[in-house]
Subunit: 170 residues, 2 copies
């Protein structure tokens, strides 16, 4: 049975929610990474993603500048790395170094792949829209990569307060 | 370590993925429900969702007609109901009846709430866009409801082939 609730309280029941890492590389050659929880598939062929990325973030600045980025799925034991990617400012800190993330070159874009991720998707920018209070980046996948360890599962946000964990079916 | 992969193969590593039920009610008074896996939050204040809804679906027709809908989170034991909502055509079958879903009136929209869901969000249509091969419906939440049983968790898609299950943190 449903009872009426404040919108802010009701949305607390949304978990588990997916989380991705988004990498970029500025024209100065410096790579950056951020964590993003507002994301989903928006097209199958071509594969496209939408990402909620604040327009005052360093990642947004680099995406607007370079028109490309990589979406990576952190695996379930990459909690610390994902928290660092989500909690520092890329224009102040080298978050990839601080998080100890290993990277490798992508095939078509300059943004790096996250070596330990479950999968990486090279994206080119399709559009930027802002229907609400968050800027939304729409990207088309042009190349994909997967971890050679196919047993790795994705990390999720399992509760408020950035509680991150892998999950298993019940 | 990453290895290059076909895009269609790499995206198979996306699970677990969230799933929602979307309800609508036509001007003829008939209510409908569908399952949607391409969805995420796109704004915090106001709370807004994006939903991938094929433009040849009955749900899309009703959203375009009425400019409103409800997003419900099925709980982890609502696999059968969610599969039925996702696999029949609402213009041919009364999917709410077929799935045995209990509904109750919403506060501001005519689309029904799913009584057993984890939470329900009444939405008004904000925009319709089609950047790729799927029509995307953008909705603003205007009222929210939660299940009186706060222990209920959301259902997820945990593997390809519409494998649905609740999940637990490891």
């Amino acid at each position: 049975m449903q009872r009426h609730a404040e919108i802010e309280k009701a949305i607390e029941r949304k978990y588990p929610e997916q989380v991705v890492l988004v990498t970029t590389r500025g024209k100065d050659g410096k790579a950056n990474v951020m964590a993003c929880g507002w994301t989903c598939t928006i097209s199958g062929e071509p594969l496209m993603f939408i990402l909620g990325i604040d327009d005052d973030s360093h990642t947004f600045e680099l995406i607007r500048e370079t028109k490309e980025f990589v979406v990576a799925y952190p695996h379930e034991f990459m909690k610390e790395e994902t928290l660092i990617a989500g909690s520092c400012h890329g224009d102040e800190v080298d978050k990839i170094e601080k998080a100890g993330l290993n990277t490798q070159n992508a095939k078509k874009v300059k943004a790096p792949l996250i070596s330990d991720a479950v999968a990486n998707f090279e994206c080119e920018l399709v559009d930027i829209i802002k229907p609400g209070d968050c800027t939304l980046v729409l990207g088309k996948v042009i190349e994909a990569h997967v971890n050679t360890d196919s047993s790795l599962k994705r990390l999720c946000t399992v509760d408020k307060g950035h509680a991150l964990s892998g999950v298993r079916p019940i």
